[in-house]
Symmetry: C2
Subunit: 298 residues, 2 copies
């Protein structure tokens, strides 16, 4: 079973206190919101945008975000289709920060992929960008919300929007030169959201299944959490585009839409917990504390 979904359901198990019928302000709990959701509240994971990262311990599923990093997404697809990542490894696990894998220290060239890309750190903030605003204040961005299932920050005055470094978000490592990232070296956030990275590096997607296979890896003891010895590296068997995998071997997942009344109700259920365990509702929810739920397709 999808672990994201499983964990959310598990969270909800502790949150199934029934709201008193005589409470006119009663709002549903997260589990009630999800139980009442309609098929149209969900979208299937697009196989053209889904990566399967295969390790000995299992499969990690990543959803790419070409709306925010189109050239990185295209380059990663090209790398994947060349088998670039097959046999490479996870070589960094820094506590409360990131796990990182791929090149660029491998001797493999980029092949048909590009060696450098422009810095896709922000996109233009236009009315054409799908966006559901989260009304709650945020210290790092004037405006925050969701676009196409991803957490987003925006500065309307600067006409910029960007993906946000929440837990599970995947980005393309780079050196000091902003054009040195090309998607051959990827990282995932495994700790408290390092929001200071926002707008400084290209986020390219999000782990939607198998996050625990990355987040619970032993931490590296070298500087920056790099594994001190090569034999500590965690091998990657392969990375495949879902569309290139036979149907029978694909994950059948769907992601909650972030532009629906159901999602708004989900957000409210996290802003103010209604179950019996909670005594003081927070009255606020931070962008990175809103779960963008993934589950097996019914």
């Amino acid at each position: 079973m999808n672990v994201c979904w499983l964990l959310l359901v598990a969270c909800c198990l502790a949150a199934t206190g029934v709201v008193a019928a005589d409470d006119s302000r009663a709002e549903p709990t997260t589990s009630e919101v999800l139980a009442a959701s309609k098929p149209s509240d969900w979208r299937p994971l697009d196989p053209e945008r889904a990566l399967y990262l295969q390790m000995a311990t299992g499969r990690v599923v990543i959803e790419l975000a070409p709306a925010f990093a189109p050239q990185h997404a295209a380059n990663i697809r090209t790398l994947v289709r060349q088998g670039y990542f097959d046999g490479l490894a996870i070589y960094r696990s820094q506590d409360n920060f990131v796990v990182q894998w791929g090149g660029p220290d491998s001797k493999r060239g980029p092949g048909k992929a590009r060696a450098k890309l422009p810095p896709e750190f922000t996109v233009e903030w236009t009315p054409a960008l799908p966006f559901t605003r989260l009304p709650d204040i945020d210290g790092y961005a004037p405006v925050v919300g969701f676009s196409g299932g991803f957490p987003v920050g925006a500065d309307p005055q600067a006409r910029q929007a960007w993906l946000v470094h929440c837990y599970g978000m995947v980005g393309a490592g780079r050196d000091n030169d902003v054009e040195t990232g090309n998607g051959a070296e990827l990282y995932v956030v495994i700790g408290h959201a390092p929001r200071h990275l926002d707008r400084n590096i290209a986020l390219v997607g999000r782990v939607v299944q198998g996050m625990e296979l990355l987040s619970a890896l032993p931490r590296g003891t070298g500087p920056l959490g790099y594994y001190a010895k090569p034999e500590q590296n965690v091998p990657i068997s392969s990375v495949r585009l879902a569309a290139d995998v036979p149907m029978a071997e694909r994950e059948r997942l769907e992601v909650i839409r972030t532009d629906t009344p159901t999602f708004a109700a989900l957000v409210e259920s996290r802003r103010n917990r209604r179950d019996d365990w909670y005594k003081v509702p927070a009255g606020h929810v931070e962008l990175c504390n809103v779960p963008i739920v993934v589950r097996p397709m019914p």
Copy 2:
């Protein structure tokens, strides 16, 4: 070497870009702030408030916060001195949430410790409370800052202050009844700060060394991240108060003071990164992104 310190130093290795000498607004980087710190910017870890949680993989050091949870701290000390935790286990590891250990399902009674405690979820916000305000806005609390080396939220109107659920903070599990927590069952935050727990449960301290021994444990596959089979539990050899351990076997650690100009400079170095890698300084730092640095005593 202390891992918190090691990781911070490692972070700083990537942040050693020298600020141009002709930049009149030049502020030091984190590594420069720490290198310039004085002995008086640090305090030794008090052995009467430090716990050693011993596992097969190593020792976790926890600093208790009796200023915020005096009865819990006292009860935990009583439990520890009875050997209550010795031979118990870590039985829960929920991704992006908490790792949990101890009772209450063990058949051990609390002995001389109390079975129930009043809910120490907040303390009175008075001028007597040591407090260094973080000027940056926060969505979950009207005021945030630091008190005695811990991250704190406060509501001056309600005359309340409370410890905040940042990464590495340790709390006392409870059931729905707010008096059911007594410190026999403890958890540590291993993911994005679950700030909705603030004021709903008693935080009792913080992991100051060995966090990676807890955060990288395999995730439990049962509901709420509980290990599905008892044999997956991770044994705890012992928990000891540092003061009860022979001097030669104690950790010699010091914690950065949070009420000094050095700490203010550290905060600013995280609010606006100055090294060459960063292109867009955030202009903001969230409470849980400020490192409260721990290092071996010189």
